[in-house]
């Protein structure tokens, strides 16, 4: 009995749906409705599978959310990591803001940011969800702060402006952007927000 064969030959009845497609459907529902607002009924409907299939493939609702959040960060927040490659702190900020804007202007995706939505939605049951999102956000914040530390060392910031303060400021704008996008702001308005933020970006 060769163990390696199990990769190409799964034993029992094969599943009739695509894992990735189903997960993408789950992501859409969580994105539209938040963790608590997403019911198993709506999830299964959008994923095109039944509840037992969902539980067998993904565990439970919380585990499914984690996997959907992974997909979200991998596919929708990719611009956040790539933005760090920009040559200056201002260019990083510009890439981040324009990336966030472009994502919110997508006509096929739900509005707002899944991370922001999930960190705000807050009944008692969703406490571990908030904690998980907070952990991931802290990681993003640390990455941006490290990049801004380099910028500060390179003398890009005015005196008295600390990198962590500027990081926090930039995140606040992006969070505000996603709030306003989720509340029905137009693309023009969101673009104005980005342009204004860039026009006041501090230079030495």
């Amino acid at each position: 009995m060769n163990r390696l064969c199990t990769l190409t030959a799964p034993k029992g009845r094969p599943r009739e749906f695509d894992l990735d497609e189903a997960l993408a459907g789950a992501l859409r529902v969580f994105w539209r409705n938040g963790y608590e607002g997403a019911s198993m009924a709506e999830l299964t409907a959008e994923m095109g599978i039944t509840k037992p299939s969902l539980y067998a493939a993904f565990g439970n609702k919380e585990a499914l959310f984690h996997k959907a959040l992974d997909l979200y960060e991998r596919e929708k927040l990719a611009y956040m990591t790539s933005a760090l490659d920009a040559p200056t702190a201002r260019a990083v900020a510009e890439r981040l803001l324009r990336g966030a804007l472009q994502m919110q202007m997508s006509t096929c995706d739900p509005k707002g940011c899944l991370s922001v939505i999930s960190s705000v939605a807050c009944s008692a049951e969703a406490e571990p969800i908030k904690a998980e999102v907070a952990k991931r956000r802290a990681s993003s914040e640390a990455a941006l702060m490290k990049r801004f530390d380099e910028a500060k060392a390179a003398g890009e910031f005015p005196d008295g402006l600390e990198s962590h303060a500027l990081m926090r400021y930039l995140f606040a704008i992006m969070q505000g952007l996603s709030i306003q996008a989720g509340s029905g702001a137009t693309c023009t308005e969101l673009n104005q927000l980005v342009e204004t933020s860039l026009s006041v970006w501090p230079t030495k």
Copy 2:
């Protein structure tokens, strides 16, 4: 039968709880948990009354939320209207940011902003809630924009900076502030956010 007497002499059995205190309790629950996350059980527990009393006095959950939102705006967002009296746009922004900061630093109130929480929480049932919050926010935005229009007419803004763009920018920062406050940011961090925002505020 004098109609006016009904004001001082309500006929039936008098209620045994204080309307304002009960509403304040409801506000706390909505603030902590959002509209959907606030269950009738938790509401009645915090308000110190039973469900039939709640329905008799406030209508239903949605009507109770509206009244709690009224109380919230009246007591907790008072700084937003008074800030408009400041002499310059920058002073208005400073009052708004410091007012928001001070509110988030209160140790007895929940963290975050009820309006932001309610505009994000989003199952299907909460759609009218979102609409109501959006309407009220639009009113606040209009008030701030009018004030910034005056500032622009007074020549306070750099060329090319429109008042509505700056209004949207300032709101974004305040929304980001409340998001970060609700996610466990420290007072020091929130203060840094406010100071940074003020330090980059555009002047002519």
